[in-house]
Symmetry: C2
Subunit: 77 residues, 2 copies
DNA sequence: GGAACATGTCAAGCACGCTTTACATCCTAA
DNA sequence: TTAGGATGTAAAGCGTGCTTGACATGTTCC
């Protein structure tokens, strides 16, 4: 999942700590999401979208494509 | 987090198992999300929205309001 | 040089998202 | 009446989302 959070935060001149406070999460959480360590929960994604006044779809984008594996998704059936 | 999944699924005449298969998750996951036991991950929310051809915002809605607790969120600081 | 801030990262711990297996109930069809 | 589908729920297990605390680095400003 790719996101534009760092860009949106930068436009507003906020530090990761500033954003974390506005979202009521830890600074490490903001950093982990920006650096792609993990995706936010759906409720947090809503908070982020509302804070920036944008839709979730305009901030987050599912991975280019988690290519369908060469093996069956339902082996031995 | 409130969602309209059961309604959208019903309109299409799909069982929970049908929907689960289309989303590539277990039937219990669909059931748990419909019955409000937990919220889907952000990637699954995207899958759901795309399957129904709707925006995430038009399917999910953050709780009416998780009322601000009477106690400080940052005690002893 | 030293203080202060911004960012990145690690570790431990807890709660949640999702899995498989299994069982119970309800409803409809034959 | 029995079989089958649809739904609800439970337990155990694994990985992720988020927390606090801590430390390292780079930058800026005195």
């Amino acid at each position: 999942m790719i996101n534009r959070i760092r860009e949106l935060r930068g436009e507003r001149g906020w530090s990761q700590a500033d954003l974390a406070e506005r979202l009521d999460v830890s600074r490490q959480t903001v950093n982990a999401i920006e650096t792609g360590k993990y995706d936010p929960s759906l409720p947090l994604a809503f908070k982020i979208a509302r804070l920036f006044g944008l839709s979730i779809e305009s901030i987050f984008e599912p991975e280019p494509q988690a290519a369908t594996p060469m093996v069956s998704r339902h082996p031995m059936e």
